[in-house]
Amino acid sequence: MTKPAMTSLQRVLTSLGHQEADRVPFFLLLTMHGARELGLSIKDYFSQAENVAEGQLRMRAKYGHDCYYPFFYAPVEIEAWGGEVIYHDDGPPNTGRPFLADPARIKQLHVPDVASTPCLKKVTRAIEIIKKQMPDEAPIIGVVMSPFSLPVMQMGFPAYLNLMFEQPELFWQLMQINEDFCVAWANAQLAAGATAICYFDPVSSPTIISKSDYQKMGREIARCTVARINGPTATHLASGRCLPIIDDLATTGTAVIGVSNLESLAEIKGACRGRLSILGNLNGIEMARWTPEQTTQKVREAIAAAGEGGGFILSDSHGEIPWQVSDDILKNISEAVHLWGQYPLRTEL
């Protein structure tokens, strides 16, 4: 017997409470696809808050997934610091040459004022429009880069690793500046109407740094930052591994972790059970060439591995579905979740 239908928000909250909802919730973390919906170039699409809000509303109406994701692009924060954003016709806007390549400049760095920075105001405006049109029907997910991961775009990865391991004093100075920015930016999105904040922190993954370095740096920074954010957070490791640090992640105050297809979903579920919910872990890169049969199979496998007992939101493993993933594949994912994700779950694979 199926359960009575819930709104997306009820479904997500039930799952995050480690209970089974009417079906497994799923987040299609679509950013650029809204441009396709509106017939705009990616650059034009992101030029106005109204476009992104409309894109998000149309995509959720089309695919029936359980969130709005008015995340523009990762370097929107870099733009706020005065850095360069490079647009592409067939991929996400990317960060340009790092503006903080010389670590000596950290001493002169000032936190941008979130309320008066045009690129950030566009994002909060998009959140406000969605919130006004669809209040409390589905969660609106805001996004921040963690203070610990933002320097990859601020400085470039090699220079940042050199700073982290060779100039600890300057490193911690940058972390304090970034923490203040991250908190202000997260709270501005919550004030605009975001339901929760996705805290992207790929550098904390054991794919990138050791567990002991994470415990000394990423974990402590997350504990301080998350405690100052005025709403629930999900920590996303953007395709990085998480299993060795799950116990640590659970102490940072986060409610959800975004997990990678590099690890077993069943194993992660076992390690998280009752403490953290899981968001993941369809392979977004491979997804671009999935057949309808493969798509259904991948969705069924993920649900079978992690759906039981709630605490699971089906999604991709990176936090952004590539532009190359077609409309048909997205519809296939949606159909498969609606068919195979109803609670109580069907057990046959």
Binding site: I86, H88, D90, G91, P92, N94, T95, G96, R97, P98, V152, G156, F157, P158, L161, M164, F165, P206, T207, I208, I209, S210, D213, S239, R241, N261, L262, N283, G284, I285, E286, A288, R289, P322, W323, Q324
Partner: protein, 210 residues
């Protein structure tokens, strides 16, 4: 020797330059440059790369190990050494991206092996094709971060192979780690999903061209 090799790996993972240098000094690298590279440095970097692939070692350590080895090798095998220059012309580039870590790791590891290559930095498709042709490059390594950039390699390969059918293109970067058929679909000759694979592919291409 095995004991030294294990200690050398340990020093690299601890990012301890001085200890790594002291262990290496016992092999008298100034007298046996390539032997020292082949018996100590290369196996250490390969082992660290293997451990990263298995999720046992993080990328930060892979990068720092490569950097330390590159610095050490430069001391006894300088860029102009004839041991480095007797090889096909090679270059490395990042396509359409300023995320340079993957390229920096492979560049360091190849140089630590005594392989000399030109770094084109971040380039677009046209610039990469023009620089490769102008530089008479025989082996080109391309690193990308985004799926869209990975797909643009197809055009790079087509244009370069039209100009010189014998050119070898080796690709690497996140999209190729998450889709094991992607490198074939873009027309590359090989993929390096990690430093060990990139090094192996480069040496194989060098042999094919010799």
């Amino acid at each position: 020797m095995k004991k030294f090799a294990a200690k050398f790996i340990q020093a690299l993972l601890a990012m301890d330059r001085i200890e790594a240098q002291q262990i290496l000094a016992r092999m008298k690298p100034e007298d046996n440059a390539l032997e020292c590279v082949d018996k100590m440095i290369l196996p250490a970097l390969e082992e660290i790369g293997r451990q990263w692939e298995q999720g046992k070692v993080p990328l930060a350590q892979v990068y720092m190990s490569g950097r330390i080895c590159e610095e050490l090798v430069d001391q006894f095998l300088p860029p102009a050494s004839p041991l480095r220059t007797d090889q096909p012309s090679m270059a490395i580039a990042i396509l359409e991206d300023f995320h340079t870590l993957g390229k920096a790791i492979v560049y360091s590891v190849l140089r630590a092996r005594g392989i000399e290559l030109v770094d084109f930095g971040t380039v677009d498709v046209d610039t990469l094709v023009n620089k490769t042709i102008e530089g008479k490059v025989k082996i080109l390594l391309i690193s990308v971060l985004m799926l869209s950039s990975a797909r643009h390699i197809k055009e790079v390969c087509q244009r370069l192979k039209q100009n010189n059918p014998r050119i070898k293109v080796i690709v690497g970067g996140a999209p190729f780690r998450f889709d094991d058929q992607l490198w074939i679909s873009v027309g590359a000759d090989a993929v390096g999903k990690n430093t060990t694979e990139a090094l192996r592919a480069t040496r194989q291409m060098m042999e094919e061209l010799s």
